[in-house]
Amino acid sequence: MKKLEKLIFEKSVQGSGTYRVSTSNSGAIINEIPDNLKRQDFDFPEVPENEVMRHFLKLSRLNFCVDEGFYPLGSCTMKYNPKINERVASLEGFNELHPLVPMDKCQGSLRLMYELSDYLKEILGMDSVSLQPVAGASGEMTGLKIIREYHKVKGNLHKKIIIMPDSAHGTNPASAMMAGFEVREVKSNDRGGVDIENLKSVIDDNVAGFMVTNPNTLGLYDENIEEIAALFHEKDALLYYDGANFNAIMGKVKPGDMGFDIVHLNLHKTFATPHGGGGPGAGPVGVKSKLSNFLPVPVISKKDNKYILDYSLQNSIGKVHAFYGNFAVLIKAYTYIRMLGKDGLRKSSEYAVLNANYIMERLKDKYSVPYKRTCMHEFVISAKKIKKETGISAMDIAKALLDKGYHAPTMYFPLIVEEALMIEPTETETLTTLDEFCQAMIEIYNMCYNNAEEMHSMPKNTPITRVDDVKAARNPKINYYKAKL
């Protein structure tokens, strides 16, 4: 029996809402509003608090979440979100603070931001940090606008190309576009890294920068990174590090030491802040000193032993957020770093990498691993062979996992691997969980060859079965009240 839930609108009964914002007769004020500015009646739900609670409680149970089970969603670093982070982020001293209070009234928040910037500088090997970007893509745009501004200031208006590997995440080219750049791809070599020969052939003076993750989206560490950096730096192009994969290398190696000039981090991945079903996140950006002046304003500085919102950056790209970013998310990352310290961060990455290699080792006989190397915190397998032999696709395998109580791996990404499934266990899982997951994957493999039909009809134990994407897109229904308009 599918346990679906009505829409809130379908629970609405005229006059049955119980919530009151006012105990007095506040409606009289409407007479002071000129008639020509007034709105007529409008559609809106009327549901008592009791039913609102039940509605969202039941909806919540239709979600899978990391507090329920294993979430090996590659590139997303779905690690455990410590509960202390939620507690501290909801302290009244933080969440009831107006962003425009005078600086001497928000020294706690400013100090937290200042120290967090410092920690991130240390961890990244960067010289300055902005905490303003609110997601990975927001950080990317910020970094790319900095690249643009950097070249503009230098008068290099012709530098309009950003190079990135063909394995890059979709936000990378999209961010480059939003910063007014054109994208040029460089091929990956047979070790999954950047093909240096190909790189040399695409690099030229029009190149403004290079954008990459390392370990890259295949979960592989590019050992040529310093050589690559040199090639770009020769052309006065800047190197941008997409920090989505930073969970592999916390405390193990600094992007600054690899040769990167700009980095963003996804605090909602590596630094254990919850993903919220699609945000809010935070995407701080770190830069080398030559770019410090280009960061969004304000940055947090210290002056006369006071923390200040510093708007004085000469070449600042401006602002990317109305205020200072997703502050409450920053609190959580700060707390996480304070709890783990240097050794804790380093061990987190070590175990993340150990776990990924362990799963890869246990699965490699069944599922083909396109790059036969030690992986970092995640790895990609390909269901290409299985598909050819049985008709079962990466999608089918992913859906079968849902049925076994796991979230699916990332599917069909990166684009350069056919029938890709990207698996990232993170460090917070137990060996028991990893073993059980491997077992499930092996059972699914066997099922592909023994009971292919069943595989196509997965999942069955989930709140709904597979959805009709095509119908959704062909005749989009995205507003309940639409019919009435």
């Binding site: 409407i30 739900p45 979600n63 899978f64 979440c65 609110v134 997601a135």
Partner: protein, 447 residues
């Protein structure tokens, strides 16, 4: 204290399985000289110690000031049910709902959010959320300008939130979009004559109207603005505070092409500026031009009604450098909060909320007028208004010492010519007691 559970024995087993001697062998691709660098961080803490540290920081803030300040961040009461529901693991520890079969909770909630945003704004379609009001406006401008390929001017009045303007400039840097600022008239509204007489009208792709504007004023020249936009085939972008909409005219009475804004008032704490949540609603014909996630209704293979991320062909992971935007993670949990907020207040509660805000702002205005301030602009306002008096900056400063923040000085917010003007805000949380404290404090500082 860390969150990696392997016992020494577990590690031994795993290392054996991998036929390595120690975990660092897995990092052999990394340049040995760069491996395991020094990192200067404070000593690790237990949960209890971390809590104490953070409480110390929180207590260094003056969050308990009486705060008559809006300017893009509003002090509304957040019903307990909002925290309770958004605090459920199922909502806050889920990822983006890529796997619809196990994500109907988030998907249906977002669908309901979209629908309620449409109901409030009067628009036909809405997306799933944007980073904040500022970036939502910036992206709206890009959407609008992409509709008018031959035009490269967007008209932005001077009465728009100045921080939003800064974000717009950052977003359009490198793109072929120019901003022309529309001056304001003596009523604090946009100068309609400027529009009528504007020379480069052929180049104009879009006009932005904030309503209520940064000074809290409702736009009264709507008919002329509509006429202007329709005659010149310009995209009209409205920026609204969603809690005004139960009372004030909106689409379709006003022919907005895009209606955007900050939904922080719908259940988000002020939280020193974030996380907040932008929204973008538009006409159906522009649906496929929207940035960000969109949830749509469909069926599963058994014919159950269900929900799914849809129209993904617009998005970065499919369209890459041709996408409508780079946005990927957005503010889903904030949308969840807004959905709960709107559901629990419901129609009557949302109306009352608007009424009480209007009422409170008028009460606050009366107090200030009584104490010698003057209204900068006459006009209909919602919960914000501008006052001036000759030593406003001084009074502002002295009140701060008494724990009262009487709005912001407009001079500090890029309005350099508005010396001695304060932008003031009241909400349903502005209690009688706080009004009395203000009166008393004003008496003391103005002697």
């Amino acid at each position: 204290m860390g969150f990696y559970p392997h016992s020494a024995d577990d590690v031994r087993k795993m290392v054996e399985k991998l036929r390595i001697n120690n975990v660092d062998e897995l990092f052999s691709s990394i340049n040995k000289k760069k491996l395991n660098p020094e990192i200067n961080l404070p000593e690790p803490l237990t949960e209890n110690e971390a809590f104490e540290e953070l409480k110390k920081l929180a207590n260094m803030n003056f969050s308990d000031m009486i705060c008559f300040t809006g300017a893009g961040s509003y002090d509304h009461y957040v019903p307990a049910i909002v925290d309770e529901i958004s605090g459920r693991s199922e909502f806050y520890t889920a990822y983006t709902p890529y796997q619809a079969e196990v994500s109907q909770g988030t998907l249906q909630t977002i669908y309901e959010f979209q629908s309620m945003i449409c109901a409030l704004t009067g628009m036909e379609v809405s997306n799933a959320s944007m980073y904040d009001g500022a970036s939502a406006l910036a992206e709206s401008i890009i959407v609008a300008m992409n509709q008018k390929k031959k035009s490269n001017i967007v008209l932005i009045p001077e009465n728009i939130n100045p921080d939003y303007v800064k974000v717009i400039y950052t977003y359009i840097a490198g793109l072929d979009i120019n901003v022309v600022r529309v001056p304001i008239n003596k009523n604090g509204l946009l100068d309609i004559n400027f529009l009528k007489n504007y020379q480069n009208i052929g180049q104009v792709g879009a006009l932005v109207v904030q309503n209520p504007n940064f000074f809290g004023l409702m736009e009264t020249q709507i008919d002329e603005i509509i006429k202007f936009k329709q005659e010149n085939s310009i995209m009209l972008i409205g920026v609204v505070n969603p809690i005004t909409l139960p009372v004030f005219k909106t689409a379709p009475d006003i022919d907005y092409d895009i209606l955007t804004g900050e939904a922080q008032p719908l259940g988000m704490y002020r939280s020193f500026g974030g996380p907040y949540i932008g929204f973008i609603a538009t006409k159906e014909k522009y649906l496929r031009k929207l940035p960000g996630r969109i949830v749509g209704m469909t069926d599963d293979t058994e014919g159950n009604r269900c929900f799914v991320l849809t129209l993904q062909a617009r998005e970065q992971h499919i369209r890459r450098d041709k996408a409508t935007s780079n946005i990927c993670s957005n503010q889903a949990l904030c949308a969840t909060r807004a959905a709960v907020f709107m559901s629990v207040l419901g129609k009557q509660g949302m109306k009352e909320l608007a009424f009480v805000n209007i009422q409170k702002a008028r009460e606050l205005m009366e107090i200030l007028l009584k104490k010698g301030f003057e209204l900068k602009y006459n006009g209909t306002f919602f919960n914000e208004f501008v006052v001036y008096c000759k030593n406003a900056a001084d009074i502002h400063e002295k009140l701060l010492k008494k724990g009262i923040m009487l709005g912001i000085k407009l001079e500090d917010s890029s309005f350099l010519n508005m010396k001695d003007c304060l932008l003031i805000c009241a909400t349903e949380k502005s209690s009688l007691k706080n009004f009395e404290k203000l009166e008393k404090a004003l008496d003391e500082v103005t002697i």
